[in-house]
Symmetry: C2
Subunit: 434 residues, 2 copies
């Protein structure tokens, strides 16, 4: 019966059977120590019997081993226990030297990212590298728990679409049985239609952007959390929900996995349950004043302003999450609701210097929506939009939501420097392998 | 403060505020009754005051209403309560007649599927239609709960890939910044690599098959649960895990949502916690004998055999889920493990007449894998496969898993006749809209 490495402290003085990867091998004062890795972590084993030690000759890191031995307390070993009197069985011998030291994390410096991904399959076997993706899975788990508790229903909408023009970014195009098609940039139109069914819906899935830009913030395939909620009584209801989500999820992951986050040297974020709100205009003005820079020509926030306002809010409000509100009308999508001539009922959620989500109220009035579509150059007779318009023609309540970047959330929670490091196998303009 | 329709029995004799869609309107013995739909369900309201009744003139189904009224017990009303002394506010009036009767489910007959999807945005507002997708979301929730309890880690792998040749079906191709790329048919290679990191992984996501066939079983975009587990001690470990998953999830959804499934007239499946196993050869022989048909030329199971063996197992084993084992070697993929010259260590999970999952053990031995890749016509020097081979070169334990069709699971749990009815916005050879 197999025991996992993280269960050993329950088996002190017992003989146990372990299975895993040879993670590390070293000689120390004439003694052979090996580390065995399994899904519970690593355990250190001390090999004394020359017959057992001999079995490791020519056997490299990554080999699959079975160990039978006695668990003893050993304060200097990882986990406080060690395996003694070990009988070893090499189940799958590895005959090749590893190209990287799996025991040491690969460099995440910008100039080394190619090496990181070239050796991704092995690099992820590093305990800390794996922890990034364990944290990622827990963040998604807690997101779902939060949303279920608020009556959201999870949906899956198609990624192959006739027209992905709603987003604004470049789209990937393909041939769909002789018809032109695109890869969905977001589930925008579908999730709005589904608000007409369930009131509150969310989807976690891939979104595709043919982004020609090579930045630390962009990849061509992202994992998005899209949520949408109806019967709101103002835009503030949307912001409050997104705020409660981020607060709950970050708080919970630190509560439940603070040890892992500390192993990763993740910076614990300063958060309040009410995030400060600054209008775009305020941010431009505050930034200009503090940095003696003229921002009057800027419509969007610059990346530097996004970093700066989060730092400012950290100092002034004790919170590293900020809503930048009153986004400019000129950047408004056809499905957003206008606030006035200058701005939209939309806000960006910034977290530790990075935009995680845009959180608009939607235009739910059929006649107004049709006008906005036509103003955006979309024919309201276009067959691809009929299902969308049908929902509004037959009654849609006030609603809003957000597209929330999961990769960016992981990046900021873990404290990485580039969105790609938060993705197992990222896609950018130069990278479609591995 | 808004109260939901399914909370009303807690507010008898109180005045409450409701918000929702006008779902139905009728005159009965000179009295006006309306049904209001919200995310809790529907509530019936009785309008007597002519001023209030007048507000509904020219106001059609789908209009967004606010109702203030007193909750009274009324056994004949849905939910056992009714709203009286109603004050009504039309928040968003709908001025168009609905093209379908939302109160009545649309026909799911094969010849009416085009109508079903043409009116999808409204048809889903039918309470029973929506319940199909609520059940779907709960099935996915219970799947995740089960897998988390077994130490599986959820991953996200790329859908834009250099080479999707692993599947066998046709792939969608696209231009990726000047390079050829495909849409992933499955996360096969990625999830196997991730077994080297976490031992047990799963992914729920879209998979793309350029299926030119128009059947009740195929669509070009499916939602797949892909799971993979390592350190197995034989193929049987994989089958036992998949069996436990299906058993747990179906049992739980019936326990928790039997009322909804009964509303949908879903047939409660007969399941045992150990599913019968029949080899392909046995099934061919049993079928041939019972149906006086010669099946000796068949490699795969025919759809009719799949239905028949499930019916057979229902009668003989008291279980509507069956494993068809010892799949023929001739259908084996390069990453499967052979059992002998004739068959692979692979089994199909059949449930109520439909294949839900193929559950093979994988070839984990580096040298053997390279041979099988070359035999399948793949160059082992192909850059696109290096990340995959790297994992095996540096140690992979025995492992196996499955690709499990979520849409098909929903179809069979709910008792639908076509995979498309289990998908919000299905994609087939003729359908990319809505």
């Amino acid at each position: 019966m197999r025991v996992l490495s993280n269960q050993l402290s329950e088996h002190v003085d017992e003989t146990v059977h372990l299975e895993g990867w040879l993670h590390k091998k070293r000689l120390l004062g004439g003694l052979t120590f090996i580390n065995l890795r399994d899904r519970g972590g690593v355990v250190q084993a001390l090999l004394k019997d020359p017959t057992e030690v001999d079995k490791l000759k020519g056997v490299h890191i990554g080999s699959i081993l079975e160990l039978d031995g006695v668990v003893v307390r050993e304060a200097r070993a990882p986990g406080g226990v060690e395996l003694h009197d070990v009988k070893l069985n090499v189940v799958v011998p590895v005959v090749y030297e590893p190209p990287i030291e799996i025991d040491k994390p690969l460099s995440h410096k910008p100039e080394n990212l190619d090496t990181l991904f070239e050796h991704r399959s092995l690099g992820l076997r590093n305990l800390n590298e794996a922890k990034v993706f364990y944290v990622r899975s827990m963040l998604l788990k807690y997101i779902r728990e939060f949303l279920y508790s608020k009556d959201f229903v999870e949906i899956q909408t198609p990624k192959l679409v006739a027209n992905a023009a709603e987003g604004g970014a470049e789209v990937f195009k393909l041939d769909y049985f002789g018809k032109p098609a695109s890869l969905a940039q977001s589930p925008q139109l579908y999730k709005q239609v589904m608000v007409g069914v369930f009131e509150r819906v969310f989807e976690v899935g891939p979104a595709f952007r043919a982004e020609p830009s090579a930045t630390t913030r962009h990849v061509s395939e992202v994992t998005m959390l899209d949520l949408e909620m109806a019967f709101i009584h103002g835009h503030e209801d949307v912001l409050n929900m997104v705020q409660a989500l981020l607060y709950a999820v970050v708080t919970k992951v630190w509560e439940q996995h603070g040890d892992i986050l500390n192993d990763l040297k993740a910076p614990k974020p300063l958060l309040k349950d009410k995030f400060p709100r600054y209008s775009m205009k305020q941010i431009h003005e505050l930034y200009a004043k503090e940095n003696q820079t003229d921002m009057s020509g800027e419509v969007d926030l610059t990346p530097d302003e996004e970093r700066w306002i989060c730092e400012y809010a950290k100092q002034h409000d004790g919170c590293e999450a900020v809503f930048a509100t009153d986004l400019p009308r000129s950047k408004m999508k056809f499905y957003h609701m206008a606030k006035d001539d200058a701005s939209a009922l939309s806000a960006d959620l910034l977290f530790k210097g990075l935009e995680l989500a845009t959180c608009p109220q939607r235009e739910h009035r059929y006649d107004q929506l049709k006008q906005q579509m036509e103003a955006a150059g979309i024919s309201i007779d276009d067959h691809a939009y009929q299902f969308y318009l049908q929902a509004f023609k037959h009654g849609m309540p006030a609603h809003g939501g957000c597209g929330f970047g999961i990769d960016r959330l992981v990046e900021k929670v873990v404290g990485l420097g580039n969105i790609k490091e938060a993705i197992l196998f990222p896609r950018d303009i130069n990278r479609i392998v591995p």
